[in-house]
Amino acid sequence: MKILVCISNVPDTTTKITFTDNNTQFNTNGVQFILNPYDEIALSRAIELTDGGKGTVTVINVGEVSTEATIRKALAIGATDAVRINAKPHDAWYVAYQVAQYAKVNSFDLILTGRESIDYNGSKVAGMLGELLDIPSVSIIKKLDAADNEATVEREIEGGKEILTIPFPFVAGTAEGVAEPKIPNMRGIMSARTKPLVVVEPVEVKTFSEIISYETPAPRGQVTLVAADDVAKLVNLLHAEARVI
């Protein structure tokens, strides 16, 4: 089985988010970038599915040269090889389009993405890839089991879950539960240095969206503390003041 895993390079989860240039640019100063946590889950499942010579896992990232540390981490975790499409990832459409071009010429049985990237939270790349390649896509999956020609996946729905079978090839966006993230071991780290990382130039594509500015949420007021033995007061406040119950 040939699996393609899309990975993105995102600010570490502990990052305090700030902006510069009159709130038009994300402030990358002092920010550590990591492999998107959901992509780590996708990658880990891909490695499990191909374990013991049952296939290959290619990771692909649309990004500038600065993302190579993240790509090497994916190789250290166990990907077979890597592709970097040498461009700034403008938006989900741009990323999906570039990846689709690559996937069209190098056919894959399964394409995995994380359910979303933790920077822009779009959860769009999987669905766009499905449409661009004219294959099924399924978003936010919690479980993925593969058989010969098809996979069984569990998808989250409001208040429950749905179980589907999907023939290969298809695209899926993975969430927690699909696999435990794998930690690179020494051998992985050493071999990552010599695994193939191909750099491909992007194709031209028009873009459909532009981020104009950012805002941070309005600060909250002071907390109103209620004594632990006066719970009735809290209920009153929630009813009469906050009007939420």
């Binding site: 989860t13 502990t14 990052t15 988010i17 946590p37 459409w93 999906a96 933790i118 939270n121 779009g122 959860s123 769009k124 999987a126 669905g127 766009m128 449409e131 294959i135 099924p136 896509s137 399924v138 978003s139 069984t152 998808r155 989250e156 729905i157 409001e158 208040g159 429950g160 879950k161 749905e162 179980i163 589907l164 079978t165 023939p167 969430a175 927690e176 459909f208 969206s209 981020i211 104009i212 500015s213 950012y214 805002e215 941070t216 949420p217 909250r220 007021g221 907390v223 503390l225 004594a227 632990a228 719970v231 009735a232 809290l234 209920v235 406040l237 929630l238 906050a242 939420v244 119950i245």
Partner: protein
């Protein structure tokens, strides 16, 4: 030109998030002096369909049929795109639900439309520009996205726009859209819905608990409180990682993002990754025995105390309050 809203049903009924999305789409139609058309796919009865008129839909396209009873991403996207073309809709609105998030990107490609997912406010339209505010960095910020394409797709976050009744009556029309055989490759084997549970992403009240609860056996009081309040239950990441609660309850940066009217956090420290997913809650109540817990910094109301003493009291008081109301 018109605005098209995809009204998603859950087992044949529309939920509040649909009425929010219809109200939101109606406001966009008004901004553009045009009409709002709704499309429903699946098994909704006539009264349900007509009810969309109350929130401003002038017409409802009804698509039904055995093959379309349940949500099939590819087929639904084909149908909605065809309806958008037929109606000349240049803006398509849907709810930012689990299904909506699978559908919006496919629609974006089909309609060559910019997609604003996670929208939290009405678009700002000036000098032909179309700008939508959306959540970013897992709720730690918002981004204003300009959609530069002629067609636009917007996915609205539940609980971020109010339901507005305009009182009209919608005319319901059957709509037959062509679907391809290849749209039905994915096959639904089973749908499991916990019948009596409030779904977390669109819950108005969420009762959430963390590692402070010590073990899964102590969740009875959390569920009891949630039941009393008509709330959904949630948890922090270590709790679901430990298997005390299902992953589907884990909220935060790497879990579900929620925006309820009331979020009650019990025995949760308030780590930055947890706060990321809950910061757009309107009112936050924190119960924690550590007065220095970071969660108190973002809380509206707080009790410094032991959850095992405070929560049973809270249950008793809410019961009294419900009985007297």
């Amino acid at each position: 030109m018109s605005v098209l809203i995809y009204a998603e049903n859950a087992g044949g009924t529309f939920k509040k998030s649909v009425f929010e999305a219809v109200s939101y789409a109606k406001a966009i139609a008004d901004q553009n002096n045009t009409d709002l058309v709704a499309i429903s796919i699946g098994d909704v009865d006539a009264a349900g369909l007509a009810s969309l008129g109350k929130y401003g839909a002038k017409k409802v396209l009804n698509v039904s049929g055995d093959k379309l009873k349940n949500f099939i991403n590819q087929a639904y996207a084909s149908i909605i795109a065809e309806a958008a073309k037929k109606e000349g809709a240049d803006v398509v609105v849907l709810s930012n639900t689990f299904s909506g998030r699978g559908l919006a990107p496919r629609l974006g490609v089909k309609l060559e439309a910019g997609v604003a997912d996670g929208a939290v406010a009405l678009p700002e339209q000036n000098d032909g520009k179309f700008r939508v505010k959306k959540t970013a960095f897992s709720g730690k910020a918002f981004a204003v996205v300009e959609l530069t394409s002629a067609n636009k797709v917007i996915a609205l976050i539940p609980n971020s726009y109010k339901v507005v009744e305009t009182g009209g009556i919608a005319q319901v029309e059957d709509f037959a859209a062509a679907t391809k055989q290849s749209d039905f490759k994915a096959i639904i084997k089973e749908i499991v819905r916990a019948a009596d549970k409030v779904s977390l992403p669109d819950a108005e009240i969420v009762v959430s608990a963390g590692r402070g609860l010590k073990g899964p056996e102590n969740w009875g009081m959390i569920e009891e409180l949630a039941n009393l309040l008509g709330a959904a239950t949630a948890c922090s990441k270590p709790v679901s990682d430990a298997g005390w609660r299902p992953h589907s309850e884990h909220v935060g940066q790497t879990g579900i993002a929620v925006s309820p009217n009331l979020y009650i956090a019990i025995g949760i420290s308030g780590a930055i990754q947890h706060l990321a997913g809950i910061s757009s809650s309107k009112v936050i109540v924190v119960i924690n025995k550590d007065p220095e817990a970071p969660f108190f910094k973002v809380a509206d109301y707080g009790i410094v105390g032991d959850a095992f003493e405070v929560v049973p009291q809270l249950i008793a008081t809410v019961k009294e309050y419900k009985a007297s109301a």
